[in-house]
Symmetry: C2
Subunit: 204 residues, 2 copies
Amino acid sequence: MGGVTTVNPTSQRGRPGYSRDDVIRAAVRAFNSRGYDATSMGHVAQDLGISKSALYHHITSKEEILEESVAYALSNLEQAFRDVVAADLTPGGTIRQLIYGSVAVLCADAESVTLLLRLRGNSEVELRALSRRRELTRSVIPLIAKAQESGEIRSDISPAVLTRMCFGLVNSLADWYEPDGELGPEQIAQDVVALLFGGLDSRR
Amino acid sequence: MGGVTTVNPTSQRGRPGYSRDDVIRAAVRAFNSRGYDATSMGHVAQDLGISKSALYHHITSKEEILEESVAYALSNLEQAFRDVVAADLTPGGTIRQLIYGSVAVLCADAESVTLLLRLRGNSEVELRALSRRRELTRSVIPLIAKAQESGEIRSDISPAVLTRMCFGLVNSLADWYEPDGELGPEQIAQDVVALLFGGLDSRR
């Protein structure tokens, strides 16, 4: 670290050339790539080409980064859900927009959402985030039930199972969405909604 | 470990009361619950209420368990894929059966498949398994393309994106499927295929 091969010259003098946001972003990327528990602050410092002490200039602990990032992801998801529920949509339209909005939040900040989705509940911080995430998912079930009652979405599968399957598909984007890839967030959201609402079958 | 609170009396004499399969099953469960990197063999021994040396009576390392379990999951998935491709189905029927078969393999051994799906590639063993998994997913893309050409499935989304979305939904079962839950594997496979082929929209 800070050796001759470093890409960031300022770090050679042990002075951070990165903002706090840069550090957090790099850390979250490292957590997602190796897994949170397998990543040390040494790894993060190495990725940035700075010393560990330069890293601790910005943050106090690995867990601080985890807590802040997943709280950010959760707040964005919660806000997106509130916006959709506040809009004057039919019950079916609400589900459509919840899916659309979730994809948008995931694509806008894929790293934080991915970190959230991979939490295992190994600490108080993780457990609190998981419980907030669970609340959010549970809040969709009665909305799906309402859309079934309205006749807009199929009624032959339980609302809880439909909720899990729909958000299972949305969340799986975390495993393959590439922010700099060919498909933009808008296109992906459209494809997800098209498949979930229309199905694979061409005879629909 | 092996103390007065242990639930398995044989372990108090340091003699394993578990078979090798039991040990592997408990280890994989622990890996999935805490994350592989966050789980020590001490955790596994503790979960089983046996000593670490009793554990090493059965296996030589944590990685041995990982390698064996994900190889098992991969072999089952590969076999299921081969069976479907060998069957005399229409291109659309092939996709339907691949999805059905994948759900069946996942439900039959949710722990091993979950372990496979959560690998991050932190070792040679993990990288090899990830590459085998990628091969499997890639093998579906031309089959989806063929089903699109046959007119059986929708053509407005690229085969690669459809493949990822379909298997993203299937794989997300690893996060919520409960082997002892209300829904059996058969019902879940039917619901997944019904949603993926028919869509949410009741007017299909």
